[in-house]
């Protein structure tokens, strides 16, 4: 084993370390700072893959920070689902960063770039930590790091809309973490533990004596993670924040950051709360109906938007609903679909935001109306948009179909065909707002009247990778689905 057994801690240490080094490197050795960040991200991705192989060979294992066993020290747990989440975070953020290196040059002031790399590494590091941690208080600290760096990569652009949006995001996410910490206090009062497994063991006895604590904690957790993951009535911060941010930040926030909180809520429900207690409170039912409302309203709001990035942001509210739908349906197949959607949506929504970034970079257009005929000048970009939109709608051959298929199967399995109707209706609504853009971009007769700058090859290559990935996960989902089925079976 040797060094390999320390990989869970090393992944986070490397990312937090590079966050510290980036501004220094940018100040004194400007050329090395971007390659250093890319190297750190690739290195942690390789470590993540090694962790996957370890879990595949040896099953779930634990890592004790500093060698201290659970009641005293922080514990990391490495199982299939956590490694899957870790790989999604690391792979997608590496991919976005490759794109961002070019795009940021024109979106930000030059002297800010080093700080952006620093914040980006902090964000990725904290999300990797959230994926692996097995300790409630550690989760709280990582969530706060994640919240601050997520707000900061919006406000770093320093225009009026960004500042206001990131302040709104900061206040609501502070409310979220406040609720989370109060929930943790409720659990700590009766169990005296922070470790997930130990809380899980101590809860049944504690609940008999103090039944209200777990009600309070579970509802606070729904509010906390719901706010951060933009579950329907708590989504108000998302459209402004994701639409006004620099495009790479939008891709990161919409693609990965909101997903990690959905994952954290899943862990709370299925690992922290004991199963019989979970069945006695209709928590899943609450999440189910909120996600259904989110799926419908997200799509309906998206239809009336005139700004391309705002439309994509509202569409995220609908799409995160699918992940919560998987949690709400409380069924292995639906959860497989939900978590598959988490991966596919991370890919396609990041790609769509990158497309929006390329369009802004090249032509400066944000309005949907002015996009008519843009396919003539940016053909490859709009093909990437088409593939992403097709996946959103769930057209065969793209990843979006597989996840919706599994969610629908799961809904049928628990005997609730109503949610199949919801999935179909929302696919139809997605088509209503994505199709006109594609049709307009390619079929428009007159020539495109705006000037278009040439797009750097690096940005186009990342889009091509995105297209290939979305199609790959639509055509060959077998391996990932097997992994997810094994991963989720551990929680039942």
């Amino acid at each position: 084993m040797g060094l390999a057994q320390h990989f869970p801690a090393l992944i986070i240490a490397i990312l937090l370390g590079i966050a510290f080094l980036s501004p220094i490197l940018y100040r004194w050795a400007r050329k090395t700072s971007a390659p250093a960040l890319i190297t750190a991200l690739s290195l942690s991705l390789v470590m993540g893959i090694v962790l996957l192989i370890q879990v595949h060979q040896g099953g779930t294992f634990y890592y004790h920070m500093g060698g201290w066993p659970p009641p005293f020290g922080v514990e990391f747990k490495v199982d299939f689902l956590r490694v899957y989440m870790l790989l999604v975070v690391l792979a997608v953020s590496l991919w976005i960063m490759v794109y961002a290196l070019k795009d940021l040059e024109h979106e930000l002031k030059t002297e800010m770039l080093g700080w952006y790399y620093s914040l980006y590494a902090l964000l990725v590091g904290s999300m990797a930590g959230i994926a692996l941690t097995n300790d409630l208080f550690n989760l709280f600290v990582l969530m706060e790091i994640c919240a601050i760096s997520a707000c900061a990569i919006i406000s770093i652009k320093e225009d009026r809309a960004c500042l206001e949006a990131s302040f709104k995001y900061l206040i609501l996410s502070a409310m979220g973490t406040g609720c989370f910490l109060l929930g943790v206090a409720m659990l700590y009062m009766v169990t005296g533990q922070f470790n997930y497994d130990l809380v899980n063991e101590a809860l049944p006895a504690a609940v008999e004596q103090y039944p209200n604590n777990m009600f309070a904690a579970s509802s606070l957790f729904i509010v906390a993670f719901g706010t951060k993951a933009a579950l329907f009535p708590l989504h108000v911060w998302l459209p402004d924040a994701h639409a006004s941010a620099p495009s790479p930040s939008s891709a990161m926030l919409s693609g990965v950051v909101i997903k990690i909180y959905a994952f954290a809520l899943f862990i709370m429900f299925y690992q922290l709360f004991p199963r019989p207690l979970l069945d006695s409170i209709p928590l899943n039912e609450i999440v189910l109906w909120l996600s259904t409302a989110g799926i419908m309203f997200g799509s309906i709001f998206a239809m009336v938007q005139v700004d391309l990035k705002k439309m994509l942001a509202y569409s995220s509210i609908g799409q995160i609903g699918y992940v919560f739908l998987g949690i709400g349906l409380d069924d292995t197949i639906a959860l497989t679909g939900g978590f598959y959607h988490l991966l596919v949506h991370a890919l396609m929504k990041s790609m769509l935001f990158m497309v929006a970034g390329v369009i802004i970079y090249s032509t400066g257009i944000r309005q949907i109306k002015q996009l008519a005929g843009v396919g003539q000048v940016l053909p490859l970009t709009m093909i990437a948009f088409t593939v992403g939109a097709a996946s959103m709608i769930g057209i065969p051959g793209t990843g979006g179909l597989i996840s919706k298929w599994y969610l629908a199967l799961g809904a049928l399995e628990v005997g609730r065909p109503f949610f199949v109707v919801i999935i179909l209706a929302s696919s139809l609504l997605n088509a209503v707002y994505y199709m006109p853009i594609i049709v307009n971009a390619f079929m428009h007769q007159e020539t495109f009247e705006h000037e278009a700058k040439p797009v750097p090859r690096q940005m186009l290559v990342t889009l091509v990778i995105g297209v290939l990935a979305v199609i790959f996960f639509g055509v060959a989902p077998g391996l990932t689905l097997t992994l997810l089925e094994n991963a989720i079976a551990l929680f039942f």
């Binding site: 601050i148 302040f167 206040i171 409310m175 406040g178 700590y188």
Partner: protein, 122 residues
């Protein structure tokens, strides 16, 4: 009556929850951005109070081992964790205040309603 005695015995929990609700309500309803930040701090502090109260035992002492004495110690874990919590709350406050400074430079006001008004007139 029994309920009332229970509540009176645990008055510090009540205080913490009351502060939490005050903080949350102010944070979400007041339009002044500075007041929002103050309310955020009240909310965080209430949770710290709750945690520290959980760790306290009546007549307990600071957990420093003294040779040859049997004494009751308070639980040091919540207090030490709340130090981390305070640091986190401070960093969020600092960041929020710096954002407010920038917002004030752009809009000339720290009132959210006025900012919305300015934005809608553009």
């Amino acid at each position: 009556m029994e309920m009332l005695i229970k509540v009176l015995h645990n008055y510090y929990y009540m205080a913490a929850i009351l502060l939490f609700v005050i903080g949350m309500h102010t944070m979400l309803t007041h339009s002044n951005l500075i007041k929002k930040v103050i309310a955020m701090n009240i909310m965080d502090t209430s949770v710290f109070l709750l945690f520290v109260a959980v760790g306290y035992t009546y007549g307990g002492q600071a957990p420093i081992v003294q040779q040859g004495k049997e004494v009751i110690y308070i639980n040091p874990l919540p207090s030490s964790l709340m130090l981390t919590g305070i640091v986190v709350a401070i960093s969020i406050t600092a960041y929020a205040l710096s954002l407010i400074v920038k917002i004030y430079r752009y809009y000339g006001t720290v009132d959210y309603d006025e900012i919305c008004l300015i934005r809608s007139q553009e």
